[in-house]
């Protein structure tokens, strides 16, 4: 298997792991980690598929998109963490009400 497809499959796997954790875990910090890992998986598929150019330099357009994606992901993470802290301060729980099992 070529490097591109090897990493593309790893990206798919990361996406699946993140999606599963996003569904089954209640704690919001874990959900934020899961979303980040899902995002990394998508980025990895994009960049891996851009490398299918043989010996020529890889496609630069997905690279540029992933760079902005990484920076936007970290800012979205910061916003999500603030939301989580606010929820925790108001309700005393870092889980969404539907997910809480009393």
């Amino acid at each position: 298997m070529s490097t591109a497809f090897l990493y593309a499959l790893v990206g798919t796997g990361l996406f699946a792991l993140g999606l599963y954790a996003l569904i089954v875990h209640a704690h919001l910090l874990r959900k934020i980690l899961a979303l980040n890992i899902m995002g990394s998986g998508v980025f990895m598929v994009l960049v891996a598929l851009a490398k299918r150019t043989g010996d020529a330099p890889p496609d630069a357009v997905p690279h540029a998109m992933v760079i902005t994606g990484i920076v936007v992901a970290v800012s979205a993470t910061a916003l999500a963490l603030t939301l989580m802290l606010k929820l925790n301060a108001k309700s005393g729980h870092a889980e969404l009400p539907d997910d809480r099992r009393e």
Partner: protein
Amino acid sequence: MTLLTWIFDSLLGLSLLWLAWRALACPNLFKAIVLFVAFGLLMALAWVRLAAPDVALAEAAIGAGLTGALLMAALAKLHPTEAHNDFAVPPEKNVTKVWSWQWLPAITILLVTTGLGYVVLSLPPYATGLSTEVAANLEISGASNPVTAVLLNFRGYDTLLEIVVLLLALLGVWSLNSADLDHKAAPGIVLDTLARLLTPIFILVAAYLLWVGAHAPGGAFQAGAVLGAAGVLLLLAGWRPRTGLMALPLRLVLVIGPAIFVIVAMLTLLIAGQMLEYPPTQAGALILILETAATVSIGVTLAALFLGGDPRKNNRNKNHT
């Protein structure tokens, strides 16, 4: 030799999957964060192996520096009085798993992933994508690094909107919380010296990445991330900006990137008739101006995001009390 790289790639891929699994499955939140930081480190190596050094630079600055610091600070605020070891989620609260029928999402996701994997593998093994178009227009773009050419020229409006997204995230954070501007406990001589010693080097490296981005991996996002990391290190070392800087000067620095971008977009619309279509002779200079402004804004936005709230609300409250 090809065997060696193949083993390296497989090992790296397996480590990434394993780290992601452990980070998402272990009950201990602190451990999960450390594993996630290690995951970011290995992601940077994976980008290197995928011949994407620009992406690796961004991941190195953000995955290895900013994300870890953000998560650690959030975890500390989540459990301010945590006395027991390592922030373990107590098993009696049973909050890690809410679903008693976990097999349902597991099977669904397994099916979806199998489908995705099949789709990925059925793609043609050789595809140039847009790389030929990028290479053909590289000469008139004003940058010889194709990634910079795409970011600042061919898809400049994307980059403009993405910088606005950063600003929106910061506005969201500001509307939710007020910043904690009180001076933290004394950092101690080692941390203080470290921050003083490294800050000039951070700024120098950011400027270097910005400059080198025209013809080699680097550019505004990577430089901005390094600049933001410098701000985070200073904040961690207990430095707080003067309150006078928090009102108008901070806001001006935050919007200078998007503002210059919009001005250039309007000017090119008037002169060339197309938004962000630079005249080839001035493209290099325009890209450098845009990137410099964007770097400053991105860096300050990231550091302000780490501060975690509106710095002005805090001042107002303090003045009243």
